[in-house]
């Protein structure tokens, strides 16, 4: 194997380093991007990238790729497993339509030129399961965000206004779950579900605790910012999937107002499409995207991701257990639920997005509105896999954001309801290629706090995608089919300096790292020990048996704060 690469004559787009479609060479050694002088005298493999687009590997900052939720989805939906993507050969058998097996997840990301993906909701007590599945995904780097917003410890420290202990608890929990950052799902609402309810505003009291969603969110932001974690609080807002919820989303976004961070946002609001509905029922529902976009654009410390629905099959799976039950009641589909100790819950419901269904068409339009109306420096491209659909259709979203003509064609195929309930038909914006590259690479890497990802500067991880697309010649407004096709399968995917995909075919297997953040050095871990020992009486496992040791993971990468 060559340990040095020379990617020659490619047209590079590298937004973080200000490279806008320039013909230049990239050099790789020992898994990193290096200066040309570093590879002198080495056994260098030359890749001819003439007239081809060279970018950093894609970074998926929010997908459900590992753990009990997706695996329950697989069990519940054998009909999803009939699509055969690879017959066992040098590589593993890989199957799945939208829900994929673990090998298929790694292979499909790699074929698309993506090299990192973050599991967006790890039930803390299930952390070991999540990591087992992450360890079964080949090709990519990964990490998991444990869920905090309905954890009784969090309620107790917020109730006591004890930010120091909350910080300590976060550090403890990240270490125990080998987690990367703080995810919040419907704060307070999942606890209310244990009594059959939900919260309806930021100021509802959580049952049995003297706290509100507002207090939970602001306290967690304060704690995460004081700890200076790589990633900010990452929130799935209250009232997801309810007409009229866009106002709650805007209120939530504004909670970031009092905080700042030089390196990144202080609040990331996820799959906003599901939280961007105006109107007061499914009959009167309309888009709240424009108002949300205005709010996000006016603030310099908040980012979002789209949660774009893709027409076709999907599976709703979230830690928002009461929402999942509502969805089950609405559609009559199968429903799995998991109430989890004193930590929260989750639910799973199959789903299909139909273009002729007015609500589904509106959801599709809202996702695109958010992508188009929000500054490209603040919105990341996601489908909230598999909630909005497959990640394998990211190229569709990329192409749509760059072409009004493509959108016009697609609009003709969907329910006319979107014409009056959304502004999508009136939006002329066409994102530039470099903006879309930013939204799928450098921006998510910055939001996650991973300086070595999402760009091609010297010192970056050699995670590189080469596409059959010449940015100097392509007319992204009109040649959308070519754009779509080019991004669908990479000419080359290079992960940590190794060529994994060539001409859209897998050529090599690689096992990526699992990042986790260790902030235990910043706090006094003794401070919460009595609380842990006391409150663990409400667990069904022993405190000493709770959590994941680093040596159990395949390739852990500890990031010390």
């Amino acid at each position: 194997m060559h340990h040095a690469l020379h990617i020659k004559n490619g047209i590079v787009i590298d937004p973080k380093n200000g490279v806008k479609a320039e013909k230049m060479d990239i050099f790789v050694k020992d898994g990193k991007i290096v200066e040309e002088s570093e590879v002198k005298g080495e056994d260098v493999k030359v890749i001819d990238a003439s007239n081809k687009l060279v970018v950093a590997g894609g970074v998926d900052m929010h997908a459900h790729i590992a753990g009990s939720k997706i695996n329950t989805g697989r069990t519940m939906r054998p009909e999803e497993m009939r699509v055969v993507r690879n017959i066992a050969n040098k590589f593993r058998a890989a199957v799945g339509r939208v829900l994929l097996t673990s090998p298929a997840i790694g292979y499909e990301y790699a074929k698309m030129g993506y090299t990192s993906s973050f599991e967006a909701a790890q039930p803390p007590i299930g952390a070991l399961h999540t990591h087992e599945e992450l360890d079964a995904i080949p090709m990519i780097d990964k990490a998991a965000l444990p869920v905090f917003g309905n954890w009784h410890f969090v309620f107790k420290y917020v109730e006591a206004k004890d930010i120091e202990k909350l910080k300590t608890f976060i550090a403890w929990a990240l270490e125990r779950t080998k987690g990367f950052g703080v995810k919040v799902v419907n704060p307070g609402g999942v606890e209310a579900w244990m009594y059959g309810g939900n919260v309806k505003s930021l100021d509802d009291q959580v049952p049995s605790f003297n706290v509100t969603p507002r207090e939970i969110i602001t306290s967690l932001i304060k704690a995460v910012e004081e700890l200076k974690l790589n990633h900010s609080v990452h929130i799935h807002c209250n009232r997801l999937g309810v007409p009229g919820n866009y106002e709650t989303t805007i209120e939530t976004i504004k909670l970031a107002g009092g905080f700042s961070n030089d390196a990144r946002q202080v609040l990331h609001v996820t799959h906003v499409q599901f939280n961007a509905y105006a109107g007061d029922s499914w009959r009167t529902v309309s888009s709240g995207a424009e108002e949300i976009a205005k709010t996000v654009n006016s603030m310099d410390n908040v980012t979002i991701d789209m949660g774009q629905p893709i027409f076709g099959h999907a599976t709703a799976m979230t830690g928002d257990a009461p929402f999942q039950f509502t969805l089950h009641r609405l559609t009559g589909a199968r429903w799995s639920n998991k109430d989890s100790e004193v930590e929260g819950g989750a639910g799973i419901v199959p789903l299909v997005y139909l273009p002729k269904n007015p609500v589904h068409a509106l959801q599709w339009a809202i996702g695109l509105e958010l992508g188009l109306l929000i500054d490209s420096d603040k919105v990341v491209l996601t489908t909230d896999y598999p909630n909005g659909g497959p990640f394998t259709e990211y190229p569709y979203i990329m192409a749509m954001l760059m072409s009004k003509k493509m959108r016009e064609g697609e609009l003709e195929k969907v329910s006319p309801y979107v014409q009056k309930a959304s502004n999508l038909p009136a939006i002329d914006t066409e994102k530039a290629l470099e903006e879309v590259i930013h939204m799928t690479r450098s921006l998510p890497a910055r939001i996650l706090g991973l300086p070595q990802k999402g760009h091609l500067g010297v010192g970056a991880d050699a995670d590189i995608a080469i596409y059959n697309l010449n940015p100097l010649e392509i007319d992204t407004s009109n040649d959308f089919e070519k754009v779509y096709k080019a991004f669908k399968t990479a000419e080359y995917t290079i992960k940590s300096g190794r060529i994994l995909v060539k001409n859209g075919e897998l050529v090599d297997e690689h096992w990526g790292k699992t990042y986790w953040v260790d902030a235990t050095g910043k706090v006094d871990m003794e401070a919460i020990k009595p609380d842990l020992e006391d409150y663990f009486k409400y667990y069904s496992v022993e405190l000493q048996n709770y959590g994941v040791e680093e040596r159990w993971l395949k390739k852990p990468e500890r990031i010390v704060i």
């Binding site: 590992a66 009990s68 997706i70 695996n71 329950t72 697989r74 069990t75 519940m76 939906r77 054998p78 999803e80 497993m81 055969v84 690879n86 017959i87 066992a88 050969n89 593993r92 058998a93 890989a94 199957v95 799945g96 097996t101 673990s102 090998p103 007590i125 299930g126 952390a127 070991l128 399961h129 087992e132 599945e133 079964a136 579900w193 244990m194 009594y195 059959g196 039950f325 089950h328 009641r329 199968r334 429903w335 799995s336 639920n337 998991k338 109430d339 989890s340 100790e341 004193v342 819950g345 419901v349 409400y538 667990y539 069904s540 496992v541 022993e542 000493q544 048996n545 040791e549 159990w552």
Partner: protein, 420 residues
């Protein structure tokens, strides 16, 4: 020396509060079933080929030859080993294009079929301990099968909202008065095979259609059914724990499907969950691991190089009855003792490899026997409790036996070598 908080590897309760004295080789706090596993037991002494003692390497080499030369081997068992071994087993099955099946196919698999039909509205055992004010054991008998379940999670367990046994109503629905029924506040005796109509009657009553219910269903009076339905509706947080009495009696998966629909209905009034009382300590892992590796929980055929799922064709008993496998690897299980006679007959006629710490009936028909370390005592690894909560089982004593994981790693390596 006493080891604290050991994780028991007998039943699906996976109690993690055990103690073990390594000098006396004796456990504390575990139940009868658990402490028997954590004591000195008869073991398979050494690897064997056709009854002759050999080295691990020789046995594994022979096993690899059998698997590679077979047209369609069956790899069955898995419920009493750790996920790390199961994962290698799934990959091995894919490699030799065989059939993967696990103990659930003769046990709780009808519950999996019901998940496919209706989902699984459930919760963790900690949620039950903290919140459940009504607990129904339906065709399950934890006092015999999961002796510490009641104390740790479900009957007398104290939690956040349930501070006292009196605050929880325990109901047993079964065909005979079981040991668990003696501890219950109420015992509802039903006629064998009448689970489905009784669940339907409860659904009718709860949805306001009591008129449609006859005076007696499956040996239970309408009056009693109305009372039970009221108890369920008035619960704050209820749970049904079902067992083999429901999955392996008339109606099978349809019983569970109906029960899940009952739970869906109850959640329109209050909170209810349902969960299977899984038997072996890691039978959940034996389904979860292949689900992420290959998309399905059991009865998986890899003969075409990709996984296909069909319980009526690819479960071990069906494959054996059809004589549709020409070799078998049996791990952590004893099909000779438990399978129907026609299935065992075929098993006796083909090459069998066994991997197990303990001798059993299957040892007698195995051509290659590979003894392994006892997970939880001599080897570590991950297991999923009956509610899917992952726990790391520990290695607390030294051994010369190889672990299942080590054996399968080497076996997979050999198979890859031979296939090259």
């Amino acid at each position: 020396m006493a080891e604290e908080n050991i994780v028991c590897t007998f039943c699906g309760s996976v109690c993690d509060d055990g103690q073990f004295d390594t000098e006396k080789f004796k456990s504390k706090k575990l139940c009868k079933l658990g402490s028997s596993k954590f004591s000195k037991k008869e073991r398979i002494k050494a690897p064997m080929i056709d009854g002759k003692e050999v080295s691990y390497e020789e046995a594994i080499e022979k096993a690899a030859e059998i698997l590679v030369n077979a047209k369609k081997p069956l790899l069955y068992g898995w419920a009493s080993t750790v996920n790390e071994a199961i994962r290698l087993g799934v990959i091995l099955t894919e490699k030799v294009r065989g059939v993967y099946d696990q103990c659930a196919s003769v046990c709780h698999a009808p519950g999996t079929l019901a998940v496919i039909e209706e989902g699984l509205p459930g919760g963790s055992l900690g949620a039950v301990k903290n919140r459940a004010d009504v607990v129904i054991f339906w065709g399950s008998n934890p006092m015999e099968a999961h002796p510490r379940h009641g104390m740790r999670y479900s009957i007398s367990a104290k939690g956040l909202l349930i501070k006292d046994r009196k605050q929880r109503k325990v109901i047993v629905v079964d065909v005979r008065p079981t040991k668990t029924a003696k501890l219950a506040d109420e015992f509802v005796q039903i006629k064998p095979g009448y689970d489905y109509p009784i669940i339907s009657a409860l659904r009718a009553i709860i949805s306001g259609n009591a008129d449609a219910v006859p005076d007696e269903v499956g040996g239970v009076s309408k009056e009693k059914l109305v009372e039970l339905a009221e108890t369920m509706k008035n619960a704050k947080y209820g749970v049904i724990f079902y067992g083999l009495g429901v999955t392996q009696s008339r109606g099978r998966d349809r019983n569970i499907e109906n029960a899940v629909k009952l739970i869906q209905l109850l959640n329109r009034h209050t909170r209810w969950i349902i969960w299977p009382m899984r038997g072996h300590y890691n039978v959940v892992g034996a389904g979860e691991v292949p689900a992420w590796e290959a998309g399905y929980q059991y009865a998986i055929d890899f003969s075409r190089g990709y996984p296909r799922f069909s319980p009526a064709e690819f479960s071990a008993v069906e494959v054996l009855k059809r004589r549709d496998c020409d070799a078998a690897l049996i791990i952590a299980s004893d099909p000779v003792a438990h399978f129907p006679r026609t299935a065992v007959k075929h098993l006796k006629s083909i090459s069998v490899i066994q991997i197990d710490p303990f001798p059993n009936m299957t040892t007698l028909v195995a051509n290659v026997v590979i003894p392994s370390a006892v997970a939880g005592l001599e080897a570590e690894g991950t297991a999923y409790r009956m509610d899917g909560i992952p726990l790391r089982v520990k290695k607390i004593v030294e051994t010369n036996y190889w672990s299942d994981e080590q054996i399968l790693e080497k076996l997979l390596e050999k198979v890859e070598e031979l296939k090259r």
